[in-house]
């Protein structure tokens, strides 16, 4: 009979363990940290993590200047869209424009997309011994990520990199493991330049990747590329600089090889020549223009066109006007590309159409 107390002890410990296995699930501690000043916030927003650094700076500077407090939870573009649609926040933020079906589900009526800054996606790689920046074309990147080109010294890569000694090593593809606006921009670009990509993995925040392994977030991908000789991955421009990675020069639609930078992304937005009546739900990848960098995209604030609360509506539009007029200057220092001046003045006019009063 002495063994029964033993079993009881085992089973008791065992029962206790079931809750410890649940800790560490997708946690949003960074989002929680951002909400530390929730009390007394005048406006609340949620969404994309990618523009969080510049949004935080804007909210901080704006609060110091006007006293209007804005609380932003960087819990992901998808969550931002869901929360705005459920009207639990005053504005949302997303790297990818909302689809028509997502727009239709919004409880508060029509949603306006306001571009704030331009995100730049760099193709970073780890090739020890290769000094000159690697040159890549859209077709090459698509074939590498499709698994059709598997060695660094492939003839097609060598053909655009005359005079560079490429190693005979395997190419390790690194992509994002979770749904992400960065992936959306990157796959949007690949779909634009490669029919095989368009009909294969396609365009989205999360894809069925033909090859490679998944890193968590921009830091995960950047870290994996930095650690592994032979790796290639796509990351936001800021992470290239922070991690001291190499970034490829990409061939744009005009045939020029362009380095990723704030200036070359702004050039892409300028060259995209949006029509005056655009709703800004447009892609600026593979834009024309000799100076345009091909993998760039707007990141958006999402606001309801009809605002039930007139006070909040005024605070919100005042803030956006300030951000577009004064905040854009901060963009380059944080590795975002500012909007071209012509778009800023058009957006100012567009903000006039945000009206108080319910839509329903």
């Amino acid at each position: 009979m002495t063994r029964w107390p033993i079993l009881a002890a085992v089973l008791a410990t065992w029962a206790c363990s079931s809750d410890s296995s649940k800790k560490g699930s997708a946690d949003t501690s960074h989002a929680a940290a951002a909400t530390s000043t929730t009390s007394g916030a005048d406006l609340t927003g949620a969404g994309a993590t990618f523009p969080k650094p510049i949004y935080d700076k804007w909210f901080h500077d704006y609060a110091a200047k006007t006293g209007v407090k804005i609380n932003y939870q960087a819990n992901g573009s998808g969550a931002g869209i869901r929360q705005l649609s459920d009207e639990t926040v005053d504005f949302g933020a997303s790297d990818a424009p909302m689809s028509d079906s997502e727009m239709a589900k919004a409880k508060g009526g029509p949603i306006m997309h306001i571009p704030t800054v331009i995100g730049v996606v760099a193709i970073s790689y780890n090739l020890p011994g290769v000094r000159q920046p690697l040159k890549l074309t859209g077709g090459l990147i698509a074939d590498i990520f499709l698994g059709k080109i598997t060695k660094w010294n492939d003839q097609r890569i060598a053909a655009v990199n005359q005079g560079v000694t490429l190693p005979a090593s395997d190419i390790l593809v690194v992509h994002r493991s979770e749904g992400s606006g960065t992936t959306y921009i990157f796959s949007d670009y690949l779909s634009a330049v490669s029919p095989a990509w368009k009909s294969g993995p396609g365009k989205g925040k999360e894809l069925q990747w033909p090859v490679g392994l998944g890193g968590q977030g921009n830091p995960g991908v950047a870290g994996q590329v930095k650690q592994t000789p032979g790796a290639i991955g796509y990351v936001e421009l800021a992470y290239v600089k922070q991690n001291n990675l190499s970034a490829a020069l990409l061939q744009n639609a005009a045939g020029q090889f362009v380095a990723p930078s704030a200036a070359s992304a702004t050039a892409a937005a300028e060259a995209a020549k949006l029509p005056p009546n655009t709703d800004y739900r447009v892609s600026i990848v593979n834009a024309p223009g000799a100076a345009a960098y091909p993998i760039a995209s707007f990141t958006y604030l999402l606001v309801y066109k009809n605002q039930p609360d007139a006070t909040k509506a005024k605070k919100l539009t005042d803030f956006i006007r300030w951000a577009l007029a004064d905040g854009e200057k901060d963009a380059s220092a944080l590795d975002y590309a500012p909007l071209p001046g012509v778009l800023v003045s058009r957006l100012m006019t567009r903000l006039d159409s945000i009206a108080p009063g319910p839509a329903r």
Binding site: W4, W14, S21, S77, G78, E178, E206, L213
Partner: protein, 302 residues
């Protein structure tokens, strides 16, 4: 009167557990129902995970969950039993206490810290030394188990980190069980002329078998549900591969990775269905464990 109130209050507390469990099961299954309804049982056998075209299947994640946990137990069980035997049978008191404390401490480290250690230390170590050793020194690179490029993040990395995480659970339970083996059992074996080793192997370990299995299953339960550390080292690739060096995915890490950015209803529902699958696997493991412990306990000759 006081007795009766006490009885009702405690009964109420006890009932909260099954009710809570039932509610969790219902909400997980009903949220996953649209995906299960659309894909049927094929959801658990399909390897597709294509959010763009809305085709979902959980087979690679189920495979990864089971394989990574199995690797963890294969590595951790002998180690943990060895540690426990040393601590309970051989170690002098001044060694036993500090080492037992350190082993228990392994269980207290947050999993994200294990994950960071995995990325910064374990994965580069596997890539630089362990993987080339199997591929080049042992010439096993062409066998399916060790095929493919050695990138680092892999099923092996996930299994190794899980092994370290479950070791303290198995070891602590085994130690307690061994210490509870009656003195008469050992003395009887020694009296029959057994060496110390024979005494442990033939008298102590068989006596403690059911408890040790309980400890192993406890470790398995932890390994199946572990999320953060695994996500950071497994490579997050939705594919079934026989190679230990290939990246993979587990059910828990897939849910953790994708939930915040899943926008379409079917995608969210598919993730909930994966959660339901994990729930079922955990229940099955626990039932098997209890049955094993019960059977071992019954058949054992004390």
């Amino acid at each position: 009167m006081g007795d009766r109130a006490y009885r009702w209050i405690t009964t109420g507390f006890a009932l909260v557990i099954p009710v809570l469990l039932g509610l969790i099961a219902i909400s997980v299954f009903s949220a996953g129902w649209p995906a299960l309804h659309k894909f049927g049982l094929g959801f658990f056998t399909s390897s597709d995970w294509d959010p763009v075209n809305e085709k979902f299947g959980a087979a690679p994640a189920i495979f990864g969950t089971i394989v990574s946990s199995a690797i963890a137990l294969i590595i951790a069980t002998p180690l943990a039993i060895g540690v426990a035997v040393f601590l309970s049978e051989f170690a002098p008191r001044w060694v036993r206490q500090p080492i037992a404390f350190l082993v228990d401490l392994l269980a207290a480290i947050p999993s994200v810290v294990y994950g960071l250690w995995g990325i910064l230390v374990l994965v580069p170590f596997l890539r630089t030394y362990v993987m080339p050793f199997f591929k080049e020194t042992l010439h096993l690179g062409d066998t399916p188990l060790f095929a493919g490029a050695a990138y680092g993040p892999s099923m092996l990395a996930a299994g190794s980190i899980l092994a370290i995480m479950v070791l303290p659970f198995i070891s602590a339970v085994t130690r307690e069980v061994l210490l509870a083996v009656p003195r008469s059992q050992r003395e009887a074996a020694l009296a029959l002329g057994a060496t110390r080793w024979e005494m442990i192997w033939d008298a102590v370990l068989p006596y403690a078998r059911s408890g040790i299995i309980g400890g192993v299953i406890l470790g398995l339960g932890r390994a199946l549900g572990e999320t953060m550390a695994v996500t950071m080292v497994i490579g997050n690739r939705h594919e079934i591969s026989a190679s230990l060096f290939a990246p993979g995915y587990t059910m828990a890490s897939q849910i953790a990775n994708e939930f915040s950015e899943a926008t379409t209803d079917l995608h969210v529902s598919s993730l909930m269905a994966v959660g339901a699958g994990l729930f079922v696997i955990t229940v099955i493991v626990n039932v098997i464990a209890r049955w094993l412990v019960w059977r071992m306990g019954r058949n054992q000759v004390a």
